[in-house]
């Protein structure tokens, strides 16, 4: 039920990552990394970099995902699935898809949404244009 309660309180809203925080340097691998061609979500702020968060939980997407509740966070370099779902649990994002990415408040690409321009990253969703821990679906639009 955490999912639903969070959807109610705060969620992805319409705005552009063009207004978001500075992008961090990309690194290879899951430690804050994000492969080119992908949109990457992280469970913790600053792409899981912070020492306050010992777990490296991440997930990458290359196509639309109508419901992030289907996805479990992957852990560190091994990419073994954790027990936590991505839905309403993302705190930072990188968009290296080469296209615009949209995080939606609700499943099935509905509700309020936030648009993330290509090549941009947001280390702390709660400090920028997207409500923290609130995205339930993700779409990628390539013009």
């Amino acid at each position: 039920m955490r999912t639903i309660i969070r959807v109610a309180g705060a969620c992805a809203a319409a705005a552009s990552l063009s207004l978001a925080l500075p992008a961090a340097s990309a690194l290879a691998g899951p430690d804050g990394g994000c492969d080119r061609g992908a949109v990457c979500l992280y469970a913790y702020y600053g792409y899981n970099y912070s020492g306050a968060y010992p777990r490296d939980l991440w997930h990458d997407f290359t196509e639309n995902d109508a419901y992030l509740g289907d996805d479990l966070w992957l852990q560190g370099d091994t990419a073994i699935e954790s027990s936590r779902i991505v839905n309403n649990d993302a705190s930072s994002v990188k968009n290296r898809s080469g296209c615009e990415a949209v995080l939606w408040q609700n499943p099935l690409f509905t509700g309020a949404h936030s648009t993330f321009a290509a090549g941009r990253a947001d280390p702390f969703l709660a400090n920028s244009t997207v409500g923290n821990n609130t995205a339930s679906s993700l779409s990628i639009w390539c013009a």
């Binding site: 959807v7 705060a10 340097s25 997407f61 109508a66 898809s97 408040q105 509905t110 244009t129 409500g131």
Partner: protein
């Protein structure tokens, strides 16, 4: 959207990713989606947010409506929209970013040409408020059912920087102690912008107004009319969420069946004829107007910040 029942909803398993994840959890998904589909009901049980007070149910009296009732998706322009960048403005900032990246890379000895999208491309992909109250645009529904409009698939092969060599990639991404051009371009773009502009706060308000007004009496009544309309059209669903979440269509797959198109077309028609979209939009817009009236300083900061970012983008492109 307030839901009274979740019957009939279902969902498919996970999306394609880069193959670094384990097996998906098919059956477990159903319950999760059903839970999500009941989001609006659960909204009422949510703990109050730490910040702004709960939105009072907005009046839908004619005097409270600043604009005529909407009759099509193009009319769904909300008060907050004036404070966010349009697709054209986003394209302007994207072009400025591409220019900054190219200049920075050139200074580091690499000739690159990041794509410079135009406003038309951004507008084509911008969903606007067409899915804010569920799928509501009849023409896309006729073509795509509940699916998003088709897009070129994202892949590593399409990213402009995928062909960069090692040295160029280091210049773009940076190295320990030396920020890359990607980061520098972002910082350059943000010059002279307003740190007071609280975009996250705006995002929260945007989400709150649509979620909380789902319970407005006028919206609830309209949902009942929508249900009757859909039954008459041969699509008996307990709620709009159940219709879009029908397991017979998979929004992850590109395939769109004729049945999905028919259902989505009827759905959008019923959303308008039942007054659901106009009622929800009216409540949503009224709530947003109330927020703006209560927080003029915050909105002035947001407007100033957006203006500064656009000025900065224009300045970059004029160089």
């Amino acid at each position: 959207m307030r839901l009274t029942t979740c019957g009939g909803a279902g969902f498919r398993i996970g999306p394609p990713e880069t193959g670094r994840r384990g097996p998906t959890r098919g059956p477990a998904v159903l319950g999760a989606l059903l839970t999500s589909a009941c989001a609006a009901v659960a909204c009422t049980a949510a703990p109050p947010p730490a910040t702004p007070p709960s939105l009072a149910p907005p009046s839908l009296a004619p005097s409270s409506l600043a604009v005529p009732p909407p009759t099509r998706v193009a009319d769904l322009v909300l008060p907050f929209d004036a404070y966010r960048p349009t697709p054209g403005q986003r394209a302007l900032m994207a072009r400025a970013r591409a220019a900054l990246l190219a200049r920075c890379m050139h200074r580091r000895g690499h000739a690159v040409s990041p794509p410079r999208p135009d406003a038309a491309a951004y507008a084509a992909g911008d969903p606007g408020n067409s899915r804010r109250y569920g799928v509501a645009d009849p023409e896309p529904a006729r073509r795509n059912g509940y699916h998003l409009p088709p897009s070129r698939p994202s892949s590593q092969g399409r990213s402009w920087d995928v062909t960069l060599g090692r040295s160029a990639r280091r210049a773009l991404d940076g190295t320990p102690g030396r920020p890359g051009c990607d980061e520098r371009a972002t910082a350059e773009q943000a010059r002279r912008t307003s740190p007071e502009a609280d975009w996250q706060w705006l995002a929260l308000q945007d989400a709150r107004t649509v979620a909380e007004t789902a319970g407005h009496p006028a919206v609830v009544e309209a949902v009942a009319r929508w249900k009757t309309c859909m039954e008459r059209a041969g699509h008996p669903y307990p709620s709009p969420e159940a219709a879009i979440a029908d397991p017979r269509w998979d929004l992850r797959s590109a395939a769109v069946t004729a049945r999905e198109k028919r259902t989505a077309t009827a759905d959008t028609a019923c959303k308008w004829s039942s007054g659901l979209v106009p009622a929800w939009f009216a409540a949503d817009a009224a709530a947003q107007r109330a927020v703006i009236a209560a927080e003029p300083g915050r909105f002035a900061d947001l407007r100033d910040d957006l203006r500064a970012r656009l000025d900065r983008a224009a300045e970059v492109l004029e160089r």
